[in-house]
Symmetry: C3
Subunit: 319 residues, 3 copies
Amino acid sequence: MEKLKHVLESQQFSREWLENELFPLAAKMEKIVKEQGVWPSCKYFFKRRALSGKRMVSFFYEPSTGTQMSLEMAMERLGGKVVYSSDHAGETSSIAKGETIQDTIKRVSAFRPDVIILRTPDEGMANKAAEFSTVPIINAGDGKGQHPTQAQTDLFTIKKEKGEIEGQHLVITGDLARGRTARSLAYLSAKYPGVKISFVSPEMARIGHDVKDYLKKHRVPFEEIYDIREVAPHGDVFYITRIQRERGGDILFNYGPPSFWKMNQEVLNLMKKDAIVMHPLPHLDEIAPEVDKDPRAAYFRQSENKLYIAMADLNMILK
Amino acid sequence: MEKLKHVLESQQFSREWLENELFPLAAKMEKIVKEQGVWPSCKYFFKRRALSGKRMVSFFYEPSTGTQMSLEMAMERLGGKVVYSSDHAGETSSIAKGETIQDTIKRVSAFRPDVIILRTPDEGMANKAAEFSTVPIINAGDGKGQHPTQAQTDLFTIKKEKGEIEGQHLVITGDLARGRTARSLAYLSAKYPGVKISFVSPEMARIGHDVKDYLKKHRVPFEEIYDIREVAPHGDVFYITRIQRERGGDILFNYGPPSFWKMNQEVLNLMKKDAIVMHPLPHLDEIAPEVDKDPRAAYFRQSENKLYIAMADLNMILK
Amino acid sequence: MEKLKHVLESQQFSREWLENELFPLAAKMEKIVKEQGVWPSCKYFFKRRALSGKRMVSFFYEPSTGTQMSLEMAMERLGGKVVYSSDHAGETSSIAKGETIQDTIKRVSAFRPDVIILRTPDEGMANKAAEFSTVPIINAGDGKGQHPTQAQTDLFTIKKEKGEIEGQHLVITGDLARGRTARSLAYLSAKYPGVKISFVSPEMARIGHDVKDYLKKHRVPFEEIYDIREVAPHGDVFYITRIQRERGGDILFNYGPPSFWKMNQEVLNLMKKDAIVMHPLPHLDEIAPEVDKDPRAAYFRQSENKLYIAMADLNMILK
């Protein structure tokens, strides 16, 4: 099994690694969790659990529930420990006293945890942290930057739900200018042949030029449209995202009628029978309540997959 | 031993269950803690501790020290783990981003913790959460609603301090309109024959009609009075509660002279020699400093009992 | 090995204890950490780790990263558990509801943790807490009071970097009126013969009279000056501290040119080749970026030493 150093951005992962290493291991983890097993399978001697003796430190400078909990739960399930965990590090850590991220990471890694989870408010901070860290870092979201474990989870979900990622038509909607999950997913799915992407958003919430340049360079067909209904009959995977209120997305709240870029019964009615609806969650009204009952709603299954991907990532980083 | 699903509200527990299951187990837990033992008694093999391998997740949307710490300490004492714990979940969890409690619980329970502790700001949220959870939920306080583990602790304390709960005259004082501990205690003590209750509070802080209707239905004699001194010579158990500043109770601060509904030397002087003073703690000036020295002050012993009740509850839910 | 009760203030430790007990044990801990060993050395049976079965509770009423993480990491490394940890206890604990520190400590110690870590906003609170606690308390900083584990770390660092503490000329700069680390270091280093201290600060940030009286009583030569350059060629240990913005130190920000009491290339150029620069961290601009590259910069090594001192303290308190 390939040893993983840091998890920083979607571009770092090859399709081969995802298909041959990460996804099979995540699937194995799912099986273990569902059968209440342990990993590795010998369960008679406590010390032998996969990550026994390993220590995680997590700094969340912005709120999260799914990402933080899935990583911490994964760590404990594999026998490791969450030693220090701050879910509002921006207020309580040394950063609040004005320390740079470099200095914080230098000090923290000197205490020799085995992995550092980092959610930061600004793009590029995880990469900067990794430069100064003697310990593996998992980027759990860096401002408007990326969210690579989410992107891994998203592709794993598409694979499970649709059988394969190749050839899928992705429809990605929402506040694409500010949402990092949309960015990370676009980067990662571009590695699969036959993928095409429709970005649906208001003009002022268009996806960044770095993503578009990347897609062009890798010859991934994409389009930018205004109305989800236009593409509803053709899409295979509808990836809905939240308005990023905490990043200045408030101006979008009154943009257009709901069916322009939200998921509701009207859009569902236009969609293929085997399409799926995804969302990194939590969602607000960009998903109408009636969607929950539709079998095509895959977002709660997607959320659960975060646990299995976290277990697989941690296992590959720490073994 | 009867398996417990959720701990949601006082009404769910029968007197028989409290007397024959919960209290004896809590007493056993107290013995174990005081003799520094482990449960079950075989201590030679680490994996065999009662809750070994069990994982707790706790969401406190409002501050607590006693409840959160007693539950987390209980979990660890029994060999289980607190995997994720937020003590200000209202700011840092997905709820802060606008997610409904149902969705949060659906996502959290998909990560397969073994028990979820939930303190929520609004009445009824714990019940709603339990509907959507695949995992046992302990309601650690839901707004003005209930606080069932506190009520269990309160009755356990009365039992220990007074020998029995039957026939006791309870004097419950404070901000009864907003305090959930008073409500939960009234509901639970009503299951014991011979209990009567004097509710002491200003007019505008009277206990809710749901409680009074319940007491009438179950033929529990009660009265509502203004001045604690009136009932001081007769009461067996004085249950003092705090003004709920965080729930709009501020208007009560200047109400009447202290002896109207607070505990001080003047009231102590009127009380029976074997009466006890209880309080869910923390207390403010509704208990005067001199009361601490009186042997009838049972509130620190009551606080300690939270640990034993938490251990018993967790054991019954998770075994 | 001498059993340690509480860690409350620098004055409580004798030079003999530091030299013969604490520092050798901390050095042993460093070796263990660096060789990825366990303590005690028998690693085959999980239950036998030094602090196995011990439980730590930590209340940080003010932000910290280094102190909290080093203590929690130390606890876990020795096999103990951090059961409850609040890093903003001022907002979320019972103190936020108006409870006194005495009552909080009485309740918390009744839950029988094995050690309580306490960082409080007001001077003397740790001592007051210790009076009411049945459990050992480590003062992790009490307002403008003291920070004894930091002072232990500081002396341990001087010992390691300079070979011995005796005879060193300490230059302590910064907001000495508000900074507790400077105070604790002055108290503790005064126990070593031949130590002399130059306090460098603006007039309005002079070190407290209690410290000066203590130094006079113990015949420790000291001076108070305005310009670090005056003493730069003579000092052995330059202990730079941060302006205490959270304690009203803001008025100092525009005081004098940087070289009056900050560390930068100009000051480095005047210093001895074997002098060292220390700082309790996090630092702001009182240390210029170029200092990091100078081999005399010892502050990151000093920060790492916190872990070894924490391991030694916990081992002595809990064994």
